[in-house]
């Protein structure tokens, strides 16, 4: 009987109290992050800053291809061996481990600038300035596209 009581006590502490305490404190202190870092445009939720979404329109930056086709439930990787003939040589053809990587490296962003400039009738330099402003080796696709829409 004794061990069972301890077992129940530990379950109550670690399985109920602990996750609920973290949830409660997060809800008070970090409500945005705890609920998925959602991004709004004109008052409408258009996605999460952290989760990749599919872009097909030439006026937007496109993310890397996704093994789960940007379906988040469940997340999935391609599981491709480097010995496989289909193993991609170019970054733009690689897939991430989560299938939901929200970022692309700078070289892949630069590659897409001419297409976007043409679709938006903008100067390529204007878009390049936008990309370089982040001063990171990669860009967040959704956030950058929202900035493009604001130009």
């Amino acid at each position: 009987m004794g061990p069972i009581l301890l077992f129940i006590g530990i379950i109550a502490t670690t399985g109920v109290f602990y996750p609920l305490a973290v949830t409660g404190i997060s809800w008070l202190v970090f409500p945005d992050q705890a609920n998925g870092s959602l991004v709004k445009k004109d008052g409408q939720i258009v996605g999460s800053e952290l989760i990749a979404q599919e872009f097909k329109d030439p006026k937007y930056f496109w993310a890397r291809p996704s093994a789960s086709n940007y379906n988040a439930i469940p997340s999935e990787a391609r599981h491709l061996s480097p010995l496989d003939p289909e193993f991609p040589k170019n970054v733009r053809d690689t897939m991430s481990a989560s299938g939901l990587d929200p970022h692309i490296p700078l070289e892949m962003a630069y590659e897409q600038i001419p297409r976007i400039a043409k679709a938006r009738a903008l100067k390529p330099e204007q878009i390049r300035d936008l990309v370089d402003k982040a001063e990171k080796p990669y860009i967040n696709v959704l956030m950058m596209n929202l900035e493009l829409d604001r130009i």
């Binding site: 004794g2 404190i25 705890a34 952290l50 979404q53 379906n71 990787a77 010995l83 989560s98």
Partner: protein, 528 residues
């Protein structure tokens, strides 16, 4: 390699080397303090005696927790899941968490309810490492006590590891993860319309609390199928670095706890250094492999090359098994090193408690071999290593390797799989080593697989845990003789390193050559 990568790596090692002695000292304090009034009341309410136990009583108490966990988890999985789970799958899943393997056989976000994740998995993420640590505490007592019939009280060890060590650390880490973007809520899912107007369903739930204890405790199971690659679990390069550190922290600190407990901090430092040297050497080989391949396939951009490899390595050196990449897309050289770390018996930091007791078994074997070489009676810290002890040491070190190799051979023999030898070996090593890292998204699809790997995990866990408790009992009852073998010197560290390499090299070299190194040769040919 960029200078930035160098700072990242050096900072990681530096922080580990400075913080682990501190946590080790805190552990020593927590495990040895006298029972306070509040703690005493808890034991009284649960009707548990806090008197020291013999090894048999200790083992019985430990196994009763394992058994209760098995029944409880299987019941939860069978009764409360989003998709149907068969009995053999429930057995496999429950086993994988109880043995601290956390082999993820099903994607959590689509199959498990939040209730199951919290009540069944998060709780076991606390209990499994506490069980392993309790066994280490028992063995430590066996070494520093003399003429004693007892090896401590399991309930006290188990309770203190969870409440004084794991709970506060998890709470801090979970809140840090949330601050960086890891999700923590009780919503089920969220349907949104993307910028281009498509429908996307985002997973929701208490992810950060589970991610934190999975990293610290060594179970390593992800809230999400893609585990620490998932941006909702591991949102930034910084969280990736901190999570890698958390994976190593407790196993590293236990080495220092051990040193303080037996009265020689230097012994703790020697063990820590041996583990660290293995880790750095293996990491360097693996990093070379990724530089040769130079690809972002199966990796997340935000972690960078080094960060991607950091968790992959920390998680296979320790028995954690969490993953932030698709390991099969790495160069076979890198994944071979990761597999070898698991084959060593999870002793390079290893699991919580289990890693260090494995290394202590190797230490005893080392003094035995050294004793043979110089013609003296072998003793470890003044405790004679005689035939009964040696039998159990060898049993504990050899049985898991046998299961890995024979199991792989059997799987190849029946030929019912389209996996390569490397994949089969990796997955057996991972299950028997109670790691839980998976290559090629290796999923079991038959009930015989579920049962076979479930049994492999139990054998891997208990075939070292039970001998360790028996040894603790035998050593505890012994007298201490004057010690002539210095185990606190760099020379001993070197000797220990050679013994580990020799024993495991002889066991696994043929299979390494046939499996991963063969694939690596093909890759070099393809690249040239």
């Amino acid at each position: 390699m960029h200078l930035y990568d160098f700072y990242l790596g050096a900072g990681f090692i530096g922080l580990l080397a400075t913080s682990s002695p501190l946590l080790g000292a805190y552990m020593h304090f927590s495990f040895n303090r006298s029972i306070g009034p509040a703690e005493a009341r808890l034991y009284r309410i649960s009707q548990l005696s806090t008197a020291p136990m013999s090894w048999k009583q200790y083992l019985k108490a430990l196994l009763s927790i394992q058994l209760m966990s098995l029944i409880f988890m299987m019941a939860i999985f069978l009764l409360n899941s989003k998709a149907p789970i068969s009995l053999d799958l429930a057995f496999n899943l429950a086993t994988s968490f109880i043995t601290n393997t956390a082999w993820q056989n099903i994607p959590g976000e689509s199959h498990l309810s939040h209730f199951s994740q919290m009540i069944a998995i998060t709780t076991q993420n606390f209990m499994a490492p506490a069980v392993g640590t309790a066994a280490l505490l028992a063995l430590t007592r066996g070494i520093f006590q003399t003429d004693s019939e007892t090896i401590g009280n399991f309930w006290v060890d188990f309770f203190r590891m969870i409440v004084f060590i794991l709970l506060p650390l998890s709470l801090l880490l979970a809140l840090f993860l949330v601050s960086q973007g890891s999700i923590q809520n009780l919503a089920s899912t969220l349907e949104i319309s993307t910028l281009e107007g498509a429908k996307q369903i985002l997973p929701m739930g208490p992810a950060a609390s589970q991610t934190a204890i999975a990293a610290l405790g060594g179970n390593g199971a992800g809230f999400f199928s893609q585990n620490l690659a998932h941006p909702f679990a591991n949102p930034t390069g910084l969280t990736n670095w901190v999570l890698a550190f958390s994976v190593m922290l407790i196993p590293a600190s236990l080495a220092h706890y051990y040193g303080i407990q037996i009265g020689s901090k230097k012994v703790g430092w020697v063990l820590f250094s041996v583990m660290l040297c293995f880790f750095i050497a293996f990491f360097a080989i693996s990093f070379l492999g990724t530089q040769q391949l130079n690809s972002l396939e199966g990796q997340e951009i935000r972690f960078g090359n080094l960060g991607s490899l950091l968790i992959a390595h920390a998680a296979t050196a320790t028995a954690n098994g969490t993953m932030n990449i698709a390991p099969e897309s790495l160069s076979p050289l890198s994944s071979a090193v990761m597999m070898f770390q698991m084959m060593l018996g999870e002793i390079i930091f290893g699991g919580s408690g289990t890693g260090l007791y494995g290394l202590l078994l190797f230490s005893m074997l080392t003094v035995f071999i050294a004793g043979l070489m110089i013609g003296r009676d072998p003793e470890y810290l003044g405790k004679k290593i005689q035939s009964a002890e040696l039998k159990w040491i060898l049993f504990a070190l050899m049985l898991p390797s046998c299961v890995t190799l024979l199991g792989s051979a059997y799987t190849c023999w029946v030929g019912s799989t389209d996996k390569t030898l490397f994949e089969i070996l990796y997955n057996f090593a991972s299950n028997v080593g109670t790691n839980g890292s998976a290559l090629s998204g290796f999923k079991f699809d038959s009930s015989s697989d579920n049962i076979m790997f479930g049994v492999a995990m139990w054998v891997g866990r208990l075939s070292t845990l039970i001998p360790v408790l028996i040894l603790a009992g035998i050593l505890s009852s012994k007298k201490r003789i004057e010690s002539i073998f210095e185990v606190s010197t760099p020379l001993f560290g070197l000797l220990l390193t050679f013994v580990i390499l020799m024993i495991n090299g002889l066991t696994f070299l043929p299979s390494l050559l046939l499996g991963p190194l063969n694939e690596y040769a093909s890759l070099l040919e393809k690249l040239s």
